[in-house]
Amino acid sequence: MNRFVFLLVIAMAAAASGQDQIPAIVWPVTVDPVVQPVVQPEPAAVSKIPFDQAFVIACRQRMFAFASPMEIADVTESAGPVTIVAVFAGGSGKRETRVFDAPWVYLLEPKKPGKVEIILVPYEAKEPAGNNRQTVEITGPRPGPDPVKPVDPVEPVEPKPVEPVKEFGKLQVLIVEETEDRSQINLRKPGQLTAMLSVAVREYMKTHGLTAADGTPDFRKLDKDQDVLSPNSKQPAWLKTAWKTWQDSGAKTPFVVLSNGKRGIACPVPDSEEEFLELLKQYGGE
């Protein structure tokens, strides 16, 4: 997937709260004090961002970062430090290499020209107060494929098919999630949560899934803290096998394990309902 990043570097400030143009976010005092996130725009904020230029926000603190409306752009998160090679908006106009030495780095990914509001909400906010936001306009036509990818030491988990031969069969599907993460997923990858909640997927399983004696499809969406493998658990064998597959993978949630009896796959839940259905059809057929 091509990634187009648009740059407005928001400096990682030191403590200088006097330079803040956006009010610091106030936290309720519980245990150790939380480092105040300081998100500062450049003195001359960029309001128009050409499609082929990079827009990067660096933050001390983890944020819910999203763009509204979603049709214009996405915001993706990376754990820092991150090295990006791009033409940065507000920069020299030439390709540069910049290291964003902050705990969290957010990249704006345009989808089409238009105005978009970028909103940052501190991750642990109990109330909406303290949102940082900026409206920018993405200009120009979408350029040809020229992926600008940050050098990220954390490689995404690639799906590894168990067997390459394409044989179809009735499916058994397990989704493992951390329910408490749904807010994060909803803001960063809403399509992924839609995929997990998809009624279309369940409908597909009714016709393409194996079923128990009572007609229940072999489809489960369970929280990772669920007790599936204990001796007292009366879960079917396929579920225990799928659960162990997830556990042994050490992968983060949300995760899907599926099999058609001949071949299977274990991978992160796809980022959209369409992709999830496509994945199922690769094993369950049309």
Binding site: F64, F66, S68, P69, M70, E117, I119, V121, Y123, E124, A125, K126, E127, P128, N131, R133, T179, E180, R182, S183, Q184, N186, L187, P190, L193, T194, M196, L197, S198, V199, A200, R202, E203, A212, D214, T216, P217, F219, R220, K221, L222, D223, D225, Q226, D227, V228, S233, Q235, E273
Partner: protein
């Protein structure tokens, strides 16, 4: 759409005992987690897009209900709205998890907690029953009864198969957390003191797109009542405004698989 707004008259169904926050303070129930401690809120600015996307793709709890066998329940002459809402929470969570369908009996909760009397009770009391004893199926306890004699032998062993493993409560009248839950596909059991009633809330609706995204009156919360299909719109209603802010709300976080 059957809409209940701030101009709707106050009612008192009498099935909900308002929680005594002095005796049982928020966050004080052992084993019950607090919403917001782990699940962060979704800012209201993001709500319109998320609602629109979810509706467009039919990835809502109401759509899940449509393709399920849960149906619309009717408490009829019982004052067990508290138990009905709780059992609905269990039923919906089982459906989300893909577990085999079971015809659950709300009265298997309501009877024991009220000492087999036809009266209102506290939602947190119902949930404790669902955790400690479980929820029986209608094979063992009729859906609507408060008579001990209607509980068949073995009902407790049956109920133990359907225990709530974990639940969580939200800070009262925190509409932002309420909206967050619904956008995350998590319904909640709501206690409404103005109605003296407990309901199961399952969806967030964008009723007035012309209003600001951070204006609570822009939205409505859709709920499944326990008055049968003849009530509201096929058993459903929509709350908006102050009426929609729940005086207490809890979610079922895990049920025994």
């Amino acid at each position: 759409m059957f809409l209940i707004d701030d101009n709707s008259p106050l009612m008192d169904e009498g099935g909900l005992e308002p929680r005594n926050w002095s005796e049982v303070p928020f966050g004080s129930i052992p084993g019950v987690s607090i919403l917001g401690a782990e699940m962060a809120i979704i800012p209201m600015e993001a709500w319109p897009d998320l609602i629109a996307d979810r509706q467009r793709r039919k990835a809502t709890l109401k759509e899940l209900w449509r393709q399920s066998r849960i149906g619309v329940w009717n408490q009829q002459e019982t004052r067990y709205c508290h138990a009905f809402a709780t059992a609905m929470g269990v039923a919906f969570w089982r459906e989300q998890q893909g577990l085999p369908f079971k015809e659950l009996s709300p009265s298997s909760i309501g009877g024991p907690v009220t000492n087999y009397q036809n009266k209102g009770w506290y939602i947190d009391g119902d949930l404790r029953q669902a955790v400690e004893v479980g929820v029986a199926t209608t094979d063992f306890v009729p859906r609507k009864t408060w008579r001990r004699s209607d509980f068949r032998s073995g009902w407790e062993a049956n109920a133990a198969e359907n225990k709530v493993v974990e639940w969580a409560e939200g800070r009262p009248r925190n509409h932002i957390m309420q909206g967050t839950l619904l956008l995350n596909g998590i319904g909640y059991i709501a206690g409404l003191n103005w109605w003296g009633h407990a309901i199961w809330v399952l969806d967030l609706l964008d009723l007035n797109p012309r209003k600001r995204a951070d204006d609570w009156t822009r939205y409505g919360t859709e709920f499944l009542n326990s008055y049968g299909r003849e009530w509201g719109e096929d058993g459903f209603g929509v709350l908006t405004g102050e009426r929609a802010k729940a005086d207490s709300y809890t979610i079922v976080r895990q049920v025994k698989v």
